[in-house]
Amino acid sequence: MKETYTLKLIQEIESGSLPLDEYLARKAEAIAKLEPILNSFITVVKGFEKSRIERLGLLKGLTVAIKDNICMEGIETTCGSLILRGYKPSYDATVVERIKKNSGVITGKTNMDEFAMGSTTEWSAFGPTRNPWDPCRVPGGSSGGSAAAVASGESDLALGSDTGGSIRCPASFCGVVGLKPTYGLVSRYGLIAYANSLEQIGPIARDVYGCALLLTAIAGYDPRDSTSIDRSYTDYRYALIEGLEGFRLGVVRELLGEGVDQRVSSCIEESIYRFESLGATVEEVSIPSISFALPAYYIIAMAEASSNLARYDGVRYGMSLSARDYDWSRYYEDVRSRGFGLEVKRRIILGAYVLSAGYYDRYYIKALKVRTLIKKGFMEVFKRFDALIGPSMPILPFRIGEKIEDPLELYMCDIDTVPVNLAGLPAISIPCGLVDDLPVGLQIIGSYFCEDTILRIAYNLEAALDLRLKPVFSEVCV
């Protein structure tokens, strides 16, 4: 097995050449040094570097940063929103429980677009996160804080959530590996909902090994999540052993359509040659229904969001207003109008619209029918291919502020990531090259519960490319 970053780190910790307390102290230093520039975290867990671990479990004491929409008992969890300011969950999300049990050290809660609605992390109420490759640029989103923390070495592993690309987009923009699992593989209990039927929590790491490791720790059935699937335990690290001879890969034409930056497509093409040289066959394939994926995705996501976000009314948790002479309806309006940012307001208003009487069939049901077509399209193609490939993002990381004025232009950037969420499929983004010192991500899409397949493909490409990425702003241990 090729010794990539995470594996080397684990070996040094296990052999004692990098004592755990020293490792954690260096992580705390990295955070102290980089946070003023990057703003990856909303909350850093006080004293995480003093954690003592009796018996090293699967995660060997590696640091894990958690996206701020995942509940952790007693640690402020804001979803990047003023409306949840001060909210300290009464319980641990299932994934947090599992990370603790597997001896991961949680460093903090990472920055994100408010309620995961965005692809730049500019929509955070706590300021944007900056891209460690170029602090003038966005890190992608909505899990931008998690990806930036991992890319910069502030944390070695991180959790993101992916509703329409929120793990793969920032992984691509920050030059790290991010995996969106099959719907139902990872428990959503404790993930603060944006669009329940689309999202999954997934791992972000510097390398494929790290991703496989963290996925192994968090995946698995949870009776508290009715949509979680009961499957036998898988150690995804074992997927990283074999080569790619005989693998059939499909390049999805619709993912490389208009709007894809030429420099991005060239990088993808180079990866295709690599795959062929590794013994895989690569063919172009078309899933025409994908051309409807974007509007369908936004309709479904906004509809679910408008209902999910109704509970934030300033009564039971989070923001509250002190003035006492209020009737409840005005109070709710005041809290919500002050607590939510522009993008959240846009989406919940539109979400209410697509569900309202007279428009339900026209928008919401139609979007769900398109979803059926897309799912069928993928299933048809997976009869002939082991995995599908395309870019994660059609463009390179852009400047902070560049697209924030035009919501529609930003939505268009999700063109390559949303089809997977509509279908519930797993997909991984891995760095496949640099253009003008900015990373490009390749997306590998697998069939249902074939995380092992896409990890194996990603691992082989990673080894073949051997990119050794190191952003300008980074502090790494090994």
Binding site: I70, C71, T77, C79, L84, Y87, P89, S90, Y91, A93, R188, Y189, G190, L191, I192, A193, A195, N196, S197, P223, R224, D225, S226, T227, A303, E304, S306, S307, A310, R311, D313, V315, R316, Y317, R324, D325, W328, S329, Y332, A352, L355, S356, A357, Y360, D361, Y364, I365
Partner: protein
């Protein structure tokens, strides 16, 4: 004014009080009398990130309701979110079901017979109960609301009728029938406060449909509807018309008050609950519900009529309460004579319980003791008034019936009269008397007859002595 007959439909919410836990979380379903907000968890308080998981027993219970109401069970169903803001709704949506775009209720159709008239059921569905609001200060001068979410998430079955009800009284009768049916199948206990709540809609010819919300007991249903009917009739008489609106029942002032909410402003934006997978109601699930069903009231009425020969009216009274019909069944089991037991229960026991203000369930009299008492009455061992006073202490204290005769000396029959009755019986029952001459054991039959004729005023031992004497005399005279 009799032409202005109202059209009434009901929307009844009953808690499934047989459940141990709430509908979507493991909090206790027994929330009554607990300090505020002690029976809550992240799910039922709507804490961010929490997820619902359906209580299987709630599904089985609602299937039992559907079977009992003879409704068509949907083989495919799911939960929907009903989106609206209100302080008692912790998520500002209610996980419910819907019959329209964005929903499929667990069952549709069915009916209840309310004494010859059929009230059709439109739909039956499962949903979660909201929390409870307590007003800080008084309602009008309230500075705020105090929220208690102990009740939030309790399983409710919603039963919606077609507008088949034609009077406030009928509405109450319907609810009583419904309550008794739900109690029969063991999913509901109507004696628990707030376990059954009801919204009603009522209109009269020419007027708009008015929905009355917040009727919290079924006694209030008749009052609220009567008030509203009078109000509407009066408006029609005065030529004012009745507008379509939603009104609130104020049980203290006993009036309905306009809520000033235009119905078209409500847009619940139902859509399928994404956190709960749909339900396929399999044969196995339905069979499971059927297996745990008792014999139903209307089936029981048929049984009493066909097997016991009771009149339908009598059968209906017995079946009107689950406890009463169970008591009846047990007494008949001990004593037989279903007709006699039925009429005695209705003529003697029920009025007594009523007078004492004791429910059938709370009576301490054991069925086997009641059977013994009734047998003693029938055999003339005790008279009716004495039996009633005995029954009273049986009901109140659970004492056993003691049939003794010594303490009824003053009412004892005179020897002369007793002699006369014995002579009459012997004369009338010549054959039995002949039997008794041959076989002393057959004498008991005559003893019974005599005692009965004396209306309990005779001591059977004395009768036996006298009759034996008669037999001996007869034998002697034949020698």
């Amino acid at each position: 004014m009799s032409e202005l007959k109202p059209i009434i439909g009901l929307e009844v919410h009953c808690q499934l009080t047989n459940l141990r836990s709430k509908l979507f979380c493991s909090c206790s379903a027994d929330y009554r009398g607990k300090p505020p907000n002690t029976n809550i968890c992240p799910v039922c308080i709507g804490e961010p990130g929490s997820l619902p998981v359906l209580n299987r027993e709630a599904l089985i219970s609602v299937l039992k309701v559907a079977i009992a109401l003879k409704a068509d069970i949907s083989r495919f169903t799911y939960f929907s979110r009903k989106n609206y803001f209100y302080p008692d709704l912790p998520k500002n949506f209610q996980i419910s079901q819907y019959d329209g775009a964005g929903g499929i209720p667990i069952a549709r159709g069915g009916s209840i017979d309310i004494g010859g008239r059929i009230v059709r059921i439109r739909r039956i569905q499962l949903e979660e109960d909201p929390g409870r609001i307590v007003y800080e200060g008084t309602i009008t001068s309230s500075t705020g609301l105090l929220m208690d979410y102990n009740r939030s998430g309790i399983a409710l079955v919603e039963i919606v009728t077609e507008p088949d009800i034609t009077s406030p009284r009928e509405a109450r009768v319907f609810l009583e029938k419904l309550r008794s049916l739900l109690e029969y199948i063991g999913v509901f206990d109507g004696s628990l406060e707030g376990a059954m709540r009801c919204d009603a809609n009522i209109s009269i010819p020419g007027g708009g449909r008015v929905e009355i919300k917040n009727i919290s007991s079924f006694h209030d249903v008749e009052k609220a509807l009567s008030f509203e009917l009078a109000r509407q009739k009066q408006r029609m008489v005065r030529g004012l018309g009745v507008i379509r609106e939603t009104r609130h029942w104020d049980p203290r002032r006993r009036i309905t008050v306009s809520l000033r909410v235009k119905e078209e402003e409500q847009d619940y934006r139902y859509f399928p609950e994404p956190d709960l997978p749909p339900i396929i109601v399999t044969d196995a699930l339905i069979e499971e519900a059927e297996r745990s069903m008792p014999i139903l009231p209307y089936e029981k009425i048929d049984l009493y009529v066909s097997k016991y020969g009771l009149s339908r009216g009598l059968a209906e009274i017995l079946v009107s309460s689950k406890d009463l019909s169970e008591l009846y069944d047990k007494i008949v089991e001990c004593y037989g004579k279903p007709g006699r037991v039925a009429s005695w229960l209705i003529e003697d026991l029920l009025p007594l319980l009523d007078k004492l203000g004791v429910g059938v369930k709370d009576s301490k009299a054991k069925p086997e003791d009641i059977a013994y008492l009734l047998k003693s009455i029938d055999e003339g061992l005790i008279d009716r008034s004495r039996a009633l006073s005995m029954l009273r202490s049986m009901v109140l204290e659970g004492s056993r019936p003691v049939i003794v005769f010594e303490h009824s000396l003053e009412s004892r029959i005179s020897l002369v009269e007793l002699d006369r009755i014995i002579s009459e019986v012997v004369e009338a029952e010549g054959k039995a008397f002949q039997d008794a001459i041959r076989n002393p054991k057959a004498l008991n039959y005559l003893v019974g007859l005599v005692v009965k004729r004396c209306g309990g005023r005779a001591d059977p031992r004395e009768v036996y002595k006298l009759l034996s004497k008669k037999v001996r005399e007869y034998r002697r005279s034949r020698r």
